[in-house]
Amino acid sequence: MWHWIQRFSSPKHFYGMSAPLIKWFSVSALLLGVYGLYLGLFVAPTDYQQGESYRIIFIHVPAAWMSMFVYMVMAVSSGIGIIWQIRLADMVAAASAPIGASFAFVALVTGSLWGKPMWGAYWVWDARLTSELILLFLYLGYMALQSAIEDQRSADKASGLLAIVGVVNIPIIHYSVEWWNTLHQGATVTKFDKPSMHIDMLIPLLLMAVAFKLFYAALVLVRTRNEALYRDRNRRWVRELVERL
């Protein structure tokens, strides 16, 4: 079993195996995304409360979900990397960070663009927004630490540890901000009503969510392959592979 995992998780094996997967993931992400956007932008009805502005939902919500999902992937694979010393896991974590950061960024930007028409301000200091912002900072911290430490192995372990500590922190932040806000219930906190989901809105939303996941899967594979090439640059399999290119 152990040997099987070791062999299966060797960068060389991964490199060979991942190429077709990338193709499948990216093609299906594209198809689902296009169909989801078509349904979302053309078919879904106008929201009676928010007007057309709600159509931001089809990118905002999937991006927000992904930003959290990717962080979990990053933390879990960092944990695997630290505990079982599996290099591939470290690579997946390192490859996930920039993708997750860009999802968090998209969620923030689209959210605040949505906030202006809905709340009259680009930004309010409420629980969800604040914890998303801090999530972005956690990603940035991970990336900064990763690039600041020269020794690759230490960099992986150190930033992996940070990712894990960050996991402990995320729920704490979330509940602390929430509690802090509800204590101060007032004109400040703009509660947004959860739009009662019309089925015609829900379907494109879910399609987009799946498309984003597939997109992430394709991207993380591509980036992990790069990491594998770079980190194994002195091993024979990379040398032979590059010479064939």
Binding site: E150, D151, R153, R233, N234
Partner: protein, 208 residues
């Protein structure tokens, strides 16, 4: 007693050594040789368990040092390139706080005897920052002397020592060997030990 098993070390892009194995018995003195940048310091840090080798392992009394740190550290002492001396503590306090890391409580007299031996008699109360670099290294010599460790791992122990200092270090190693202890060390300068000495050679090809 002490064994390195097919160690491999990679720094940045370069393989420094691989499949390096050797053993150190009691009363054995081992010199690690090699040009600048051949990986001596890296090897010694691996032997201490401070750095993890890319492959292979280090055994202390047949057990891996990583899973058995406490036993191993109770019987070894390491000095590296760095002085480990606090400018704000006196010589005596410096030695004492080094010994504290090993949970050794010695009397002032015992420490003073060792300080006298390494040529720091009457310096007990001088703060570290007022010492010259050679005198700083001598604090470490006193620490090794008092550490009651079986295995000494010394990285460039002759650094900054003048001629008398070198002789002192040599005689300390000889004494330790006679008492059944082992020593692993590196040096660029010749160490004249009047005893047999094994050696490990690193990084054959030197560039430039």
């Amino acid at each position: 007693m002490f064994e390195a098993k097919s160690l491999e070390c990679v720094r940045d892009d370069r393989l420094l050594f691989n499949d390096l194995s050797f053993a150190v018995a009691e009363s054995e003195v081992l010199q690690i040789e090699g040009a600048n940048g051949s990986g001596k310091t890296s090897l010694l840090r691996i032997l201490c368990g401070l750095r993890l080798p890319e492959a292979g392992q280090v055994l202390w009394q047949e057990e891996s040092i990583i899973s058995n740190r406490e036993d191993y550290y109770a019987s070894m002492v390491y000095i590296g390139h760095l002085p480990c001396v606090k400018g704000d503590l006196t010589v005596l306090e410096n030695v004492r706080s080094l010994l504290d890391t090993r949970s050794l409580s010695l009397s002032n007299e015992q420490i003073e005897v060792a300080l006298a031996k390494v040529g720091l008699a009457s310096y007990e109360d001088v703060p570290g920052k007022a010492l010259s670099s050679g005198q700083r290294r001598r604090i470490l010599l006193a620490f090794i002397e008092l550490s009651q460790a079986k295995l000494w791992i010394l990285d460039e122990p002759l650094t900054a020592l003048d001629v008398q200092g070198v002789t002192l270090m040599e005689s300390m190693i000889m004494e330790h060997k006679q008492a059944g202890g082992s020593v692993v060390f590196t040096t660029h300068h010749g160490m004249q030990l009047e005893c047999e000495m094994s050696s490990v050679q690193l990084g054959r090809r030197s560039r430039g």
